[in-house]
């Protein structure tokens, strides 16, 4: 990391402010819930959609914008599995490790994913493409083992098919 001081300041300032698009989406959510607290969780999801994860600065910005206690929002952010409080790669791999996938060999599959990408759970590949996260039952148990990459479900995944799956996401234009 060689960000110059100026860049760092600029990025921090940007992170501290919600983007116009984020604010528009948050305001839309406000119309769907009668209470601001409910909007808080939605706002975290919105910020994450735009920035990939929820940094301290983003969390503070949301809390400030909605007038919610920071600690309360942090308590919510850290409670839910799909709010990322650390940076993730361009593609998040959700590896189903629940019982049906376990019976069908998800542990061996995980070993192959780790070997192929050089990452363990919670880690991001060196090229910044993939983050590997375990997830409870993805609800496709008759086609186990299953994993998600980004918003896509992959079923009946074999060690052999991993390379082809990852190639589809690698260097994909956002």
């Amino acid at each position: 990391m060689n960000s110059s001081r100026e860049q760092l300041i600029a990025s921090t300032a940007a992170a501290n402010h919600l983007l116009e698009a984020e604010i528009a989406e948050i305001e839309h959510e406000r119309t769907l819930y009668p209470d601001t607290r409910a909007v808080g969780l939605e706002a975290l999801k919105i910020v994450q959609k735009h920035r990939g994860w929820v940094s301290d600065e983003s969390l503070l910005a949301v809390a400030e914008y909605l007038g919610l206690p920071v600690a309360e929002l942090e308590g919510v952010a850290t409670f839910f599995n799909l709010i990322y409080r650390r940076p993730v790669g361009r593609n998040v791999i959700l590896h189903c490790n629940s019982v049906s996938c376990w019976i069908m060999g998800c542990e061996q599959l995980k070993e192959r994913i780790s070997a192929e990408l050089g990452i363990d759970f919670g880690e991001t590949s060196e090229d910044g493409e993939f983050t590997l996260i375990p997830v409870p039952c993805l609800g496709d148990c008759d086609r186990a083992p299953v994993l998600m990459v980004g918003a896509d479900q992959h079923r009946n995944v074999s060690a052999e098919s991993l390379g082809e799956i990852f190639a589809r996401y690698r260097n994909r234009q956002a």
Binding site: K45, I103, C137, M148, Q153
Partner: protein, 426 residues
């Protein structure tokens, strides 16, 4: 007449039916009956009569649940209907089928349920990972709004209904209805103390009904084709059909809509094709990860709520996880304990501290570090985390596979200790 009201429109070789095609197939009949004067009390009566039981796991009679909602002049103005589409029970893959395959069926059923309890606002609490279901639902909701089936004064009935799709940020505990309500309110999803029950004081303190996706999807059929038809569907003592699934090492795993009361053997052999070549059935969890193991000797039981309960387990979600004779039962239960331990909300002590302890013992057993006294500690936890000793049903759910595995597969546990390794690994 149909014998598959839940899945008759589902065909994954094409996109789900749009509103016009869905309606042409007999859909939204309940809504039209309502517009012709069917009263909320009539709907409630029909649902009670049908004998429909909740398909989310607990099997509570749906009509009875609804009947606790305050009605009439003195009732609170704002009431809510919430659909629990947070399918996350390990080994359960039935609601996904309905959500992705026939989204209008759910909306149809929600209109009926919301009318019955006079709720003008409804939320679908959808699992965040169900992105295909989200897409299908958004499209169907837009069509229903466009058609005037949602919104203000629907078809001149004077009844308003908005349906809002909420995607969850992900925690198993959100399947517990009061935890779900907290999550919808933007709070940590800890369960709430009951009473008050949500029917009286639920979402934002207002009367709220939380029903499972499959439960709601039963309603359009009941209203359209009547109680006699609905009650004729069964092959057992509970009424209607149910989605049944089989996963694990069977020849053709899958999910099928079958009459309640279908024998387990038929599900396993005729539909799932029996065990894979060279494998024997050792046991199975009949309704997802938080049910007690049943054994090959139970294969002739009929799949309905009372029969499975009498055998010491639960029908629950109706999705069966099969354990074969070459898969380690200790490893399988250990996997479930890791899941439950991770998904404990941390609110009450037996669950928060008990589950990680149990999970750690399973890791020791797997690593060849198990001790005889560990098995006693596991037994104790079946009691400490059992029904009535925790704040909600999560930990008791975990004790179901744990306690039954200790009973049925004792020898496997002992071999892990005596041989200081997993005997299923070479």
């Amino acid at each position: 007449m149909f014998n598959n009201p839940l899945t008759r429109n589902i065909d994954f070789s094409r996109p789900p039916l749009g509103l016009a095609d869905y309606e042409a197939s007999g859909g939204y009949g309940g809504l039209h009956a309502i517009s012709k004067g069917l009263e909320p009390a009539d709907v409630l009566e029909q649902v009670k009569e049908s004998g429909l039981k909740g398909r989310g796991g607990a099997g509570f009679p749906t009509g009875l649940k609804w009947s606790f909602v305050p009605m009439g002049e003195g009732a609170p103005q704002q009431k809510y209907l919430v659909v629990n589409a947070d399918e996350m029970e390990p080994g359960t893959f039935k609601d996904r089928l309905l959500l992705e395959g026939d989204p209008h069926l759910l909306i149809d059923g929600m209109i009926i349920a919301a009318y019955a309890i006079q709720a003008s606002k409804a939320y679908i609490f959808l699992r965040g990972e169900y992105t295909d279901a989200e897409r299908a639902l958004r499209k169907a909701l837009a069509e229903a709004r466009e058609q005037g089936y949602l919104g203000r004064d629907i078809l001149g009935t004077g009844h308003d209904l908005d349906i809002i799709l909420h995607t969850s940020a992900g925690r198993y505990i959100c399947g517990e209805e009061t935890a779900l309500l907290n999550a919808l309110e933007g709070k940590r999803a800890n369960p709430r103390a009951k009473p008050p029950f949500p029917q009286v004081s639920g979402l934002w303190g207002k009367p709220t009904i939380v029903n499972n996706v499959e439960t709601i999807c039963n309603l359009p059929g009941i209203l359209a084709w009547g109680i006699d038809w609905y009650r004729s569907l069964t092959r057992g003592s509970d009424h209607g059909t149910k989605l049944f699934g089989v996963s694990g090492k069977v020849r053709t795993p899958g999910c099928w809509e079958l009459p309640l009361g279908t024998p387990i053997r038929e599900l396993l052999e005729a539909h799932a094709g029996g065990m894979r070549e060279g494998l024997e059935l050792k046991g199975f969890l009949p309704g997802g990860g938080s049910t007690d193991f049943l054994l090959p000797e139970h294969l002739d039981l009929k799949l309905d709520y009372d029969n499975i309960a009498a055998a010491g387990s639960r029908l629950a979600t109706g999705t069966m996880i099969v354990l074969d004779d070459q898969t380690c039962p200790v490893g399988m239960v250990g996997n479930l304990m890791t899941f439950f331990s991770h998904e404990s909300c941390g609110y009450c002590t037996p669950c928060r501290d008990g589950l990680p302890w149990v999970d750690e013992i399973f890791r020791d057993l797997e690593r060849g570090k198990g001790r005889r006294e560990d098995l006693e500690i596991l037994e104790q936890h079946v009691d400490y985390m059992g029904p009535g000793k925790t704040f909600c049903a999560l930990a008791p759910g975990a004790t179901a596979p744990l306690g039954s595995a200790l009973r049925h597969f004792r020898e496997d546990f002992e071999r892990h200790v005596d041989e200081q390794r997993c005997p299923y690994r070479n």
